[in-house]
């Protein structure tokens, strides 16, 4: 379920307020200043490269194993206040997995639905002496199928984490000419849950994003950005379990184009670097995304 936090982060970022076209490349679902409402669809595909162990050592997939993950996120953002907006993200996930002992399988279904909000206290460049500052809030509801509820042996039809998650954070951004520097920090916590009589609770997570976008011309921009997530040790039956903390670094690039006034597309590749030191207790993937957005003024 490594992708779950990323999805929430995306949802949080997706709700971020655009200050210029550059932001659209990093956060595709952000309402631009003149927009009141938008809907969109994001398609993702990722190939599992391997995994990082508890010592941050990267391990290739064993011989005979493979995994493709697919995701389709339907999302919408609505401006409720002049500076505030509300977002909804409904993911559908599928996975094809294969191992030498179990064979191959394909499964999927509805994922965990996320509701998020953003309030911009200061827009980027609104003040000459301060960056744009926004409050980010999110709640993820366990509408997906938890791994132990999966019917496929490799869990390809597991589409959720089985717990509620709440998150809160701050977004900062500042433009310098045609460049936009954007950052976000988000704290997340999941509720405890019981799995076949075992009570467990994942550790609190801190996530950060830093991106640089460049506006090539009106309606066209490109960006590079990275995300880092740290999650503390998990607890089982009230006891903290050592060496269960998780880390993930994801690097991405994206471009955004306006096709018509109300339509834009966005997409690009992402990778979790398949080398020692870039993750912990986490899978590593290489993939890409493509997003179509219709906005309403």
């Amino acid at each position: 379920m490594g992708c779950t936090l990323a999805a929430l982060l995306d949802a949080d970022w997706a709700s971020a307020q655009a200050c210029c076209a550059g932001a659209s490349a990093i956060t595709p679902a952000r309402l631009e200043l003149h927009e009141q409402f938008l809907v969109g669809l994001q398609l993702r595909a990722a190939w599992m490269l391997g995994s990082y162990d508890a010592n941050r050592d990267f391990r290739n997939l064993p011989s005979g194993a493979a995994q493709w993950d697919f995701e389709q996120d339907a999302f919408g953002s609505l401006r409720l206040l002049r500076r505030g907006q509300l977002g909804l993200l409904v993911p559908v996930l599928e996975s094809w997995r294969k191992t030498s002992t179990t064979g191959s399988e394909f499964g999927g279904g509805l994922g965990d639905v996320n509701v998020n909000a953003r309030y911009d206290f200061i827009y980027a460049n609104e003040l000459s002496y301060a960056p744009g500052v926004a409050l980010l809030l999110g709640v993820t509801v366990p509408t997906g199928r938890a791994p132990e509820a999966a019917e496929q042996p490799l869990g390809s039809d597991a589409t959720g984490i089985g717990a509620f998650q709440i998150s809160a954070g701050l977004g900062l951004e500042r433009s310098f000419g045609d460049f936009l520097v954007s950052g976000a920090g988000i704290f997340s916590k999941r509720t405890s849950r019981e799995v076949r009589g075992v009570e467990s609770e994942l550790g609190a997570a801190l996530s950060g994003m830093l991106g640089l976008a460049y506006t090539i011309r009106e309606g066209t921009s490109a960006a590079i950005f990275g995300t880092y997530m740290y999650e503390g040790n998990a607890s089982v039956e009230g006891r903290e379990i050592p060496n269960t903390a998780r880390e993930q670094l994801r690097l991405a690039a994206a471009a955004s184009f306006s096709i018509l006034d109300e339509w834009r597309i966005q997409g690009g590749p992402f990778v979790d670097p398949p080398a020692n030191g870039f993750g912990r207790n986490q899978i590593a993937s290489l993939g890409g995304s493509f997003t179509v957005i219709r906005s309403f003024l």
Binding site: M1, G50, S51, D53, A54, R59, N60, L61, P62, A65, T99, S100, T101, T102, A146, P147, E148, A149, A150, E151, Q152, P153, L154, G155, A158, I161, G162, A163, R190, R193, V195, R196, G197, V198, S200, E201, L202, A234, V236, I241, N243, T244, A245, R246, N281, I283
Partner: protein
Amino acid sequence: MSDTGALSVTWECVSGDAPARGRNRFELLIESTESGEPVDGLSLSMVPFMPAMGHGSSTVPTIAEVGSGKYDVDDVVLAMPGVWELRTTISGDEPDYAAPRVEID
């Protein structure tokens, strides 16, 4: 070592050279820590659990006593790479608990 310290619980993968992602079969060897003698006649149940991800497995393993302190545990599905706990509850006159760890790529 079990929770009470009375039992030593070790595993051997019998479905392959090493535990692998997917379906596995294990043989648990349970011995008395005091005498070193194998312990038969125990009633076991197992929940494979991945602490770092906070989830379990999609299947419930089946367990059969083999004899000489050995218990055959089949249908242990470990769906993700990483460290799993084979959380084993021992019922009977002297209830106990053990959670040997298994790491898979």
